[in-house]
Symmetry: C3
Subunit: 461 residues, 3 copies
Amino acid sequence: PTDHLFTSPLHHGELCCLLPRILIAMIILFGVFVRYDEESDAHWSEHKREKNITSDIENDFYYRYPSFQDVHVMIFVGFGFLMTFLKRYSFGGVGFNFLIAAFGLQWALLMQGWFHALDPADGQIKIGIENIINADFCVAGCLIAYGALLGKVSPVQLMVLTLFGIPLFAVEEYIILHVLHVRDAGGSMVIHTFGAYYGLTISWILYRPKLDQSKRLNGSGYHSDVFAMIGTLFLWMFWPSFNSAISDHGDGQHRAAINTYLALASSVLTTFAISSLSAKRGKLDMVHIQNATLAGGVAMGTAAEFMITPYGSLIVGFCCGIISTFGYLVITPFMEKYMKIQDTCGVHNLHAMPGVLGAVVGAITAATASESVYGHEGLVNTFDFKGKYAERTPATQGGFQAAGLCVALAFGIVGGAIVGFILRLPVWGDPSDDNCFDDEVYWEVSLISFVFYLFHSKVAL
Amino acid sequence: PTDHLFTSPLHHGELCCLLPRILIAMIILFGVFVRYDEESDAHWSEHKREKNITSDIENDFYYRYPSFQDVHVMIFVGFGFLMTFLKRYSFGGVGFNFLIAAFGLQWALLMQGWFHALDPADGQIKIGIENIINADFCVAGCLIAYGALLGKVSPVQLMVLTLFGIPLFAVEEYIILHVLHVRDAGGSMVIHTFGAYYGLTISWILYRPKLDQSKRLNGSGYHSDVFAMIGTLFLWMFWPSFNSAISDHGDGQHRAAINTYLALASSVLTTFAISSLSAKRGKLDMVHIQNATLAGGVAMGTAAEFMITPYGSLIVGFCCGIISTFGYLVITPFMEKYMKIQDTCGVHNLHAMPGVLGAVVGAITAATASESVYGHEGLVNTFDFKGKYAERTPATQGGFQAAGLCVALAFGIVGGAIVGFILRLPVWGDPSDDNCFDDEVYWEVSLISFVFYLFHSKVAL
Amino acid sequence: PTDHLFTSPLHHGELCCLLPRILIAMIILFGVFVRYDEESDAHWSEHKREKNITSDIENDFYYRYPSFQDVHVMIFVGFGFLMTFLKRYSFGGVGFNFLIAAFGLQWALLMQGWFHALDPADGQIKIGIENIINADFCVAGCLIAYGALLGKVSPVQLMVLTLFGIPLFAVEEYIILHVLHVRDAGGSMVIHTFGAYYGLTISWILYRPKLDQSKRLNGSGYHSDVFAMIGTLFLWMFWPSFNSAISDHGDGQHRAAINTYLALASSVLTTFAISSLSAKRGKLDMVHIQNATLAGGVAMGTAAEFMITPYGSLIVGFCCGIISTFGYLVITPFMEKYMKIQDTCGVHNLHAMPGVLGAVVGAITAATASESVYGHEGLVNTFDFKGKYAERTPATQGGFQAAGLCVALAFGIVGGAIVGFILRLPVWGDPSDDNCFDDEVYWEVSLISFVFYLFHSKVAL
């Protein structure tokens, strides 16, 4: 009965052939295209003199590096540990997250660079601290998609998901931020809506009717739930850095951090309330606490840098906590049963719905912005009404914000459909229905845990 | 025999009725009272011009945000994971810590705002980075109190504890810092002494004579001890940020970080020494390592920004490590047996005694400050001898520092007594004596861990 | 058969006699020698005026404190949790790491201070933020050495290792950085090469021919592997801060962070590739993921602040990931069998080889530096070709860099040999061959885990 444990469906050499090729391609592309920007190049001292910059502390590094490190923690520890909650898929959760994030950020530097940071003088991408933050953001989209597929796909499939996901993200981001001139500093649309619908569409196409053959492993254990709380808390604590990392210097970053802090605090209270309302005998469910508490951060992704006011932030967190927790209670089971979407981590509740809500909140907040609230300069700075956008009004901006949401949805769903069909090809070494959610398929697992595994199986079956 | 597991003492709807009401009240109060301050408002660019501020980097955000994030980690991961050490109460430790901290910081922004940040021009609270750091500090007081009660109270009781604890803290802080003009940047008095005696007094009033019915669960497990080390280390590493977060710009923050770093390092050595001296056969006890190593940070809460000298910091850490470890060995059992104070986490050893010691060290260091050591400007800046305090001498300041300690003690004990009697009302859904320290009472716990639970019970009983 | 569990080889009073004496010595030495520097002293406001410093934000604290905190996390959580991977030695891994790091940083402030920060005016060591970063760096050398010895030595032996390791490090660092004027901001030579060979040489001298009596415990468990990933990820994420923490303000720190970020990302891909290539049935091995993914950071320790270019960083990470993973597969077993070096954590693969490679990369990058790439000022700043080194050329610098590597190797091997012989004296309470890798020897371990231990023994034997 445990014979399947000793037959890995991963063909020899797949991952080990794929990765060096990808990396060599990266090295060549970086060699041709990527250089340091003015602030990270050794010519900085000359640049500083030319631009009359009086102090090294004016280097963008000092404005953004602390936020970058927080974002980096969210990507690797936050997303990684959040996905350790399954009782026998903790290695896969944190390990494959590590793999695709490390690949994705290199690929993102290139793809985003071509769209956003290309130096017209020499055709090269000039990178600095803001680019590496953006690369981490870009990776987040693919990690969200992984959340929907956790335990059901092979690492090679995840590499393919990332290989296509990053360029899709970069194009979508270019259209939203540059063509439509939409503001989305924390990525409610660009990151969360796109990433979630990308993953959910792939999951729908990869639907496994017999997934309940693995149901013994599709759940959490006591310690794996505590590990997942490490992920939750680092995401929760550092989300203010996420939403403020690439906001405007000064009040922009300051306000984005405060708004996000408040929305997150508010989400926690509604999550606990709904969780205890609905579960059996008023007991709390760790799945809700691990996920829905974060919804406020997702929903502030667009509006965090706006003058949404402190109470506005609390209201956003309030609504999101409710929607997200109800999602886990009602919508995820519904989607699995009637829509054939198997969403392991519930990214529909944590990223899709709060992301859409955040985009709507952002559009409304932008549309109602006024000089009396922002001041003239504040309005221009916050919405970047400069250059060819100098004539744009807040109301128009609100319309463009809404258009941005449609672009994110379209890219997520259409992109996910295409990539989903690619991933259905029978060459990627995905696990069979009866050994999903099982680390033994892809990892050496030591004897002691195997013993516990047997012990558990005997009791549970 | 395990029948009690299936009867939750939490009445349906308590938490789920309480939390939304509290949150709606918060939203209304924030709507009426809370606005952005000059540095987080979109009018910053105008403000900057008015005040001749030359660069965005002068925004207080850049001075304090890295420290804020460290403090935030201490509150949620530090305190949260430190309280996961019980073998079957890890969900409650990290989860309820999350709940009350998220509620407390909103409530603290209001309460502290009314006392410290009210704009007389329009009667509104103007918030910026310093306010959110202070809100986290305020929350710390209630989390310390939770430490004494861990495993013995319901989440609704914790909400009540926080609901009253935050205003008590805000008034106490106002009297100490503003009326008495006492310096206490890291809160030896304001946070630790107050929080510890608040929790200990409540624990005394809620004394459970039959708590040994739960003694099978009142201890740590191997992995829960490792989880608790996550909390310990993040508290230990980031304590320099805690004590320097709201110190003066420049040398104040710099010195506070160095002094705290040294005192903490020193505590670690004495903790290991006393722990191995006293335990059976020279073996070390994880409880000591998890807690007493932090005593140096608590005890530097007042004096960290003073010129206490590097060796002074080492001496403070040396003494605290001894006192705190002996506390775990001798005083906690004594208090439980003879004083009827059941202190789950030993907050008396980690916060109460080192907090009082820190206040005394602060008073002495202040009283002996001199212009020869600080320079004239340094003395004025460090102790804020400006405006109506321009004439105050270091010796007088020392006296006021001592008075501050008395205020903190009085608020902790009297406040704790009042709140303790409220929490004794039989309406809060607290666990019975035989299911304290048990996550199954308030949380859905998955089958696999329940199996281990049974397995353990059979062997241990 | 389990009788040995109840006989601790640690003699009463060793640790508890040693530590207070050391700490009292520290206090006296700090009292005589250590004071605040200009930027952490209360005279800062006067100093600021004298030097025409316009703003508090120019205090070095604001340039380096975020990096310091990241480095601090690497030392205590990174190294500490990386060493929790053994199934029954997690307390020893994280706990003894905590002890020797806390001691080492005090000792390092003194030793490094005498060599690098002595004020000639008054013969005192003036400390500020850069000193405490350097103290953490110095400690890292000893923690690397601990990695080779994990589970086989007593805490007293570790204290001795640190007591001698810190001065060895300080002298080696002085010769490399000051006498030879070598650049090594992230310590490929100074920290990693030295630390690894120091530990490996000690391990060679302490060779235990009968170590397989403990082989039942010399391996990881499922949850201990997840704990170790906490260490891995915090090391991985914060390594850009490690390599940039003491680089030049401005472009130096900025570039060092970017280069390290890229090399690390690249290492992850090759590690996964080689791990899946080589292991049984294409399965991944957690040991590789936990360790070899970090090799890119080690190897960028010297060249991170140079203009190595983004693709150069990727190439370095590529090579290191391969070398390091092959090391785990081939070299560690070879060394244990034929060279009698028992290297518990594989520091040879993670620190020694990548450290040497990093030194070579640094030497080549330095030797090929040119004004066309760096600009004149950039070249002078990056390599500090000032004062008596104003005439040094990049080619000469490359030679000195190579000489620096030899110094690091010599100090590691000779120092390790001396300390190894000291540690062979039979007075240090080291564990017997059959209870290595066992926390029960030095720690109180609670009943529940003991039960699991028995359960495991019964099944595994």
